[in-house]
């Protein structure tokens, strides 16, 4: 029975099964491609990225790089991308700070603080992010006064329903001296750190590298800055006719998205941090106490290095989630990649395949790069086994 023999041969079965699976996928893709071709023919369109050089003709509310409605679609794409990166980067920083604070707060011996942090986490985690974004934008920020009645803040800043207006620093020529001082201080700190490590390895004498390094990096440039006569001019926002001009503006869309994203992700980061700290075995703390380490040192030298190992991988996931969640901007009109490119450009040009292909590729690329960077960091903190 050669046929039954073939049927029962696992190698043959594996080969046939894989061939079938592969053929199925290829057939499916071919079917989609042929449908797409037929549809595009019917619409009289081909796949063509040439539209990227055409005039966009629409305005964008937040343009971190120069952009007017005469710019090209490619320029609009870049604006959207930079806007996504801005909100993601700020969001990651804020969410990390708040998340670590809340996570450690939940472990506090103070009953009230621990409960408060628990309530925060359980409330924020169980409400959809989109709802929070819309809530901040439509229910909270609308309560701000009009520009005429703006709330004045220190240093010439003010806040109104058009955004948060901050004074913008403008460099003057002498600033390069400060930059050089900063560079020198960093180099000096690195050299000093090397020397300190070598000396400690050789003689066992520690050197307060953190304090000295921080002093060098902060005070050095500051002294040069003052000697050069404060070479920074602050451009304060001025009220003209209907609105403020000048300075840095944080538009309400950005503020709402940023607050919602950071507070939401912070709740998840808090749980990650708590789990990481709890994962450090009790024996480690007891041993640290037994050799007489004070609480601060125990935290820095025993708990945090071990907790970081547990925290890093899930923290990476949270950062990636934050970047992907920043696409919820489209619900409140913040001009991020999806909002600018997929919404406006797609509606204007109808180039669905090109636009969606580019957007998906960008998100995949950002995800991969972030994952790579965090994996490198993870490799640094991971357990080095002999």
């Amino acid at each position: 029975m050669p046929f039954a023999g073939l049927l029962n041969d696992t190698r043959v079965r594996a080969f046939v099964l894989q061939l079938l699976a592969f053929a199925g996928v290829v057939a499916f893709v071919a079917w989609i491609v042929s449908n797409t071709g037929a549809n595009l023919d019917r619409l009289g369109m081909g796949i063509d990225f040439g539209f990227l050089d055409d005039r966009a003709g629409f305005n964008i509310v937040q343009t971190p790089i120069p952009y007017t409605n005469d710019s090209t679609y490619f320029r609009a794409f870049l604006v959207g991308l930079v806007n996504t990166l801005i909100v993601s980067a700020l969001g990651i920083v804020l969410a990390t700070i708040v998340g670590f604070a809340i996570g450690i707060g939940r472990l506090s011996s103070n009953w009230l603080l621990a409960r408060l942090c628990t309530v925060y986490v359980e409330t924020i985690r169980n409400v959809p992010l989109l709802l929070q974004v819309v809530f901040w934008f439509e229910a909270v920020l609308v309560l701000l006064p009009r520009p005429q009645a703006a709330i004045t803040l220190p240093f010439g800043a003010n806040i109104n329903n058009r955004g948060l207006y901050l004074p913008a620093p403008a460099a003057e020529p002498a600033l390069w001296a400060v930059a050089i001082a900063l560079l020198l201080a960093i180099v000096a700190t690195v050299v000093l750190a090397r020397w300190a490590r070598r000396r400690q390895a050789a003689t066992g004498k520690p050197f307060p590298i953190w304090t000295v390094g921080a002093a060098l990096i902060l005070l050095g440039p500051l002294v040069v800055f003052l000697l050069a006569g404060s070479p920074v001019r602050w451009e304060v926002p001025v009220f003209q006719r209907l609105n403020f001009t000048g300075g840095i503006v944080i538009i309400p869309e950005l503020a709402a998205l940023l607050v919602a994203l950071s507070l939401y992700t912070a709740a998840f980061i808090a749980e990650v941090v708590r789990a990481g700290v709890l994962a450090v075995p009790r024996g480690q703390l007891e041993a640290a106490g037994a050799i007489g380490l004070p609480p601060g040192l125990t935290m820095r030298k025993v708990v945090i290095p071990q907790a970081l190992r547990v925290i890093t991988p899930p923290l990476t996931n949270q950062y990636l989630n934050l970047i992907k969640n920043s696409s919820l901007a489209v619900a409140i009109g913040y001009p991020d990649l999806v909002g600018v490119f997929k919404n406006t450009v797609l509606n204007q040009t109808g180039r669905a395949i090109e636009v969606i292909g580019i957007t998906m590729a960008v998100y995949l690329f950002i995800s991969l790069v972030t994952a790579l960077a965090m994996n490198l960091f993870n490799a640094r903190v991971a357990l080095r086994e002999r």
Binding site: A21, L40, S108, W111, L112, E122, N126, V127, A139, S327
Partner: protein, 375 residues
């Protein structure tokens, strides 16, 4: 004489001594948990100040200044929550534009669903297998026929009339029912010995996990008509539901893979040695263990899916959030406190469902842990 037989037998146990002073009771508790050190005391005072600063305005907004009844915006102008608005829109929030005369069908489906889920959720109730068959096969068919009116001789209700909490729940249940089996298949594919199957599964999973759901939903609404043969159209709601289901099956696959990796190799080898076929091994040995290990992860994915059903608002469908958002545009109810009220109400509903699910997952986790400790 009295000294010789001085045996003493105590007829009752000694009453317990009072605990040392300063250990039990509210004041020592306070001292231990709130005022154990100067830093602790400062923290306590700061937290109390924070609560005193936030809680009273919240209570005033939600209860004291709130408008509970009223016909239009005039009752909602003094700054408190506008619960009257919720009362006026409650049918819209629950059913969307579903025809009023047909709303009983939604209620019947909800009752049928609860009748299937509650016995499944209580561990002591027997007959789980039939329960699952009912929920996965019988219930979806009945629900589809009742809700659309196709095949049972009722009036046809197209999905663009569906909306509100009802659509949120339909989308979530659909997503959960599809994404779990699909996720299990993908996880098995990713751990398969066959390289082609493994690469295809891994590629599929990573592709979906790398892009935001908003982008996927846009793709479904824009690209699907291009991908399908000319003339073939798809219901918009069904498209969104399928999108969410497939998107979350990728996340589910990673959770299940974690469970599969947690099963010791001996279990695979032992079941092979018994001569079980692949399907038998999976059904009888591997899956029961792997899935119970990752129940918390599965429930967390369900919660994430439930929350993300709100994203269908972005492509113009009216789920609970979308319905409330569009209701706030009603000029009869234009008042500064209406949006806040609407979103707080929506948040409360989402919170009840998600918090309930997460508590349930903790309950199941504890139960399983108890079982494992006994062994």
């Amino acid at each position: 004489m009295a000294g010789e037989d001085a045996t003493f037998l105590r007829p009752a146990p000694i009453p317990p001594r009072a605990p040392p002073r300063g250990v039990r009771g509210p004041i020592p508790w306070l001292r231990r948990n709130l005022f154990s050190s100067p830093a602790n005391t400062v923290t306590t005072i700061l937290v109390l100040l924070f609560l005193a600063w936030t809680i009273p305005p919240l209570i005033r907004w939600a209860f004291i200044d709130a408008a509970w009844t009223g016909e239009d915006r005039s009752v909602c102008l003094d700054g408190g929550a506008c619960w009257a608005f919720i009362g006026a829109k409650i049918n819209l929030i629950l059913y969307g534009q579903y025809p009023p005369a047909e709303r009983w069908r939604v209620v019947v489906v909800a009752v049928l669903f609860i009748a299937g889920v509650v016995p499944l959720a209580i561990p002591k109730v027997p007959g789980k297998r039939w329960n699952v068959v009912y929920l996965l096969i019988a219930f979806p068919v009945i629900a589809f026929m009742l809700l659309t009116g196709i095949g049972v001789g009722l009036r046809h209700v197209p999905t663009d009339r569906w909306g509100g909490l009802f659509v949120t729940l339909v989308t979530a249940v659909f997503g959960i029912v599809i994404s779990l089996p699909l996720g299990i298949l993908l996880a098995l594919g990713r751990r398969s010995r066959l390289p082609v199957v493994r690469w295809l599964s891994a590629g599929f999973i990573e592709l979906w996990r790398g892009v935001p759901l908003v982008a996927v939903l846009f793709m479904a609404s824009v690209m699907l008509p291009i991908f399908l043969p000319p003339g073939v159209t798809f219901d918009k709601l069904l498209r969104a539901m399928l999108c969410i289901a497939i998107f979350y099956s990728a996340y589910m696959a990673e959770v299940v893979r974690g469970g599969l990796q947690a099963i010791p190799k001996g279990q695979y080898e032992g079941s092979m040695a018994l001569g079980l076929s692949f399907l038998q091994r999976m059904r009888l040995v591997i899956m029961p263990q792997a899935l119970t290990v990752v129940i918390p992860g599965i429930v967390n994915t369900f919660i994430a899916l439930f929350k993300d059903t709100s994203l269908i608002m972005v492509i113009g469908l009216f789920d609970l959030l979308g319905m409330l958002k569009s209701a706030t545009n009603d000029s009869d109810w234009a008042s500064p406190s209406v949006p806040a009220t609407a979103y707080v109400f929506a948040g409360l509903i989402f919170w009840i469902f998600c918090f309930g699910l997460s508590r349930y997952s903790i309950f199941i986790e504890r139960r399983l842990e108890r079982g494992r400790q006994r062994r």
